[in-house]
């Protein structure tokens, strides 16, 4: 069972790696911003699988932290990209 979980985790990591190709190539800012999202759901899944494989529940804490902070990173990217399009003294945005 542990081997299967390890392999499944490795497979998900491979999927994340492939997805990052798009992030590198993709024209436009939105594709780059998806990187944090991709890691937020992909790497978190892989971490959960690795954690269950090794039996250490501390890895689930890492997954929690990763999920929280990749969401934060995505929001920071979006906010930054919005500010880039606007003059400095007008911080209006309607999200």
């Amino acid at each position: 069972m542990a081997d299967f979980l390890q392999s499944a985790g490795a497979f998900v990591v491979l999927m994340v790696a492939l997805g990052l190709v798009r992030v590198a190539r993709g024209p436009g800012r939105a594709d780059r911003m998806m990187a944090a999202q991709l890691l937020g759901s992909g790497a978190v899944g892989a971490l959960l699988l690795f954690g269950a494989a090794s039996g250490e529940s501390a890895v689930f804490d890492v997954a929690l932290t990763l999920a929280l902070l990749s969401a934060f990173a995505s929001i920071a990217f979006v906010k930054f990209a919005l500010r880039q399009d606007q003059p400095l003294d007008d911080e209006e945005d309607a999200t």
């Binding site: 390890q6 392999s7 985790g9 490795a10 497979f11 990591v13 491979l14 994340v16 790696a17 990052l20 992030v23 590198a24 800012r29 780059r32 911003m33 990187a35 944090a36 890691l39 790497a43 892989a46 971490l47 690795f50 954690g51 250490e56 501390a58 890895v59 804490d61 890492v62 929690l64 932290t65 990763l66 929280l68 902070l69 990749s70 969401a71 934060f72 990173a73 929001i75 920071a76 990217f77 906010k79 930054f80 990209a81 500010r83 880039q84 400095l88 003294d89 911080e91 209006e92 945005d93 309607a94 999200t95």
Partner: protein, 343 residues
Amino acid sequence: MTTIASGVVVLLLLWLALWTVVARDAFLAVAGFVVYGLLLALVWVRLAGIDVALTEAAIGGGLTGALLLGAVGRLRGTEAATAAEGAGAGTRALAALLALGVTGALVLGVLMLPEPAPTLAPLAVPALPATGVGNPITGVLLAFRALDTLLEAIVLVIALIGVWSFAPDRAWGGRPGPLYRADPQGILAYLARVLPPLGIVIGIYLFWAGADHPGGKFQSATILAAMWMLVQMAGLADTPRTDNRALRFGIVIGPLVFIAVGVLGLFTAGAFLGYPEGWAKPLILVIEVALLPTLAIVLALLMNGPPARPWASAGAPGAGPLPGRHAIASRDRPTRSSDEGGT
């Protein structure tokens, strides 16, 4: 499958690092850096360094990313000039040579380590139960090398003072950063109302679990700081006034308590930062509880940057001479002393 994935991740990391360095646009570079940090956390888990993975995910992923994005924003005005300069081919070649040389030296150093590598771990592990904590990393950080941790906390405070020193004279004591605004009925505001309570619970849990399991005050403080930044970014709370006394008290409380415990150790255990028999765990707890607000506030303020808006104005530029604390009677002075800043 696992070896394939490990190989792919190593190659991916190398490629990502290269991509980050050669990226044309600063935003791309920061995106690459954040992805690199988050991926590295995965690698640390595979290498059984879970505390390091937590710190890498928290700091390398979220915090440094936000910090760098802020820096890129500030450099916006100079981007054209920087692009025009560029470095000559000779400089680039020299830089590449230097980077490769350092990498090579590091690789050689690691590969040539004697087997078994010199380590103090066999000495530290038997002494761990005396400290009362179960997590060896917490034991090292707060008992065996407590002095290092104290100095790191002080360095952080000094770094914050350094960042604040960039404030223009008229803005000293004012609010850092721009006033973020977002639709109060919108998605960002919704996220900023729902995520921070969750984040605070997770942060406090990580802090508490740090005694016996991977975790601890640093990762916890980073999560709390990120949640506070989230609330600010959604416009639900303004950045704090840097002359707020409660804020400044929170900044110094950590190192002060740490030093106090150290001096106490001089009298009770015969050495600075010595813990008397049986008192190690409670003293460590006191230090950690005092350091948590310091670290969280300092990290969040570092992300905010130097004060930019004199507090006499609510976001409008050019509000007049250096604000006097007693001068203006009609000020409403909201105090923002808690970590989340209130909504």
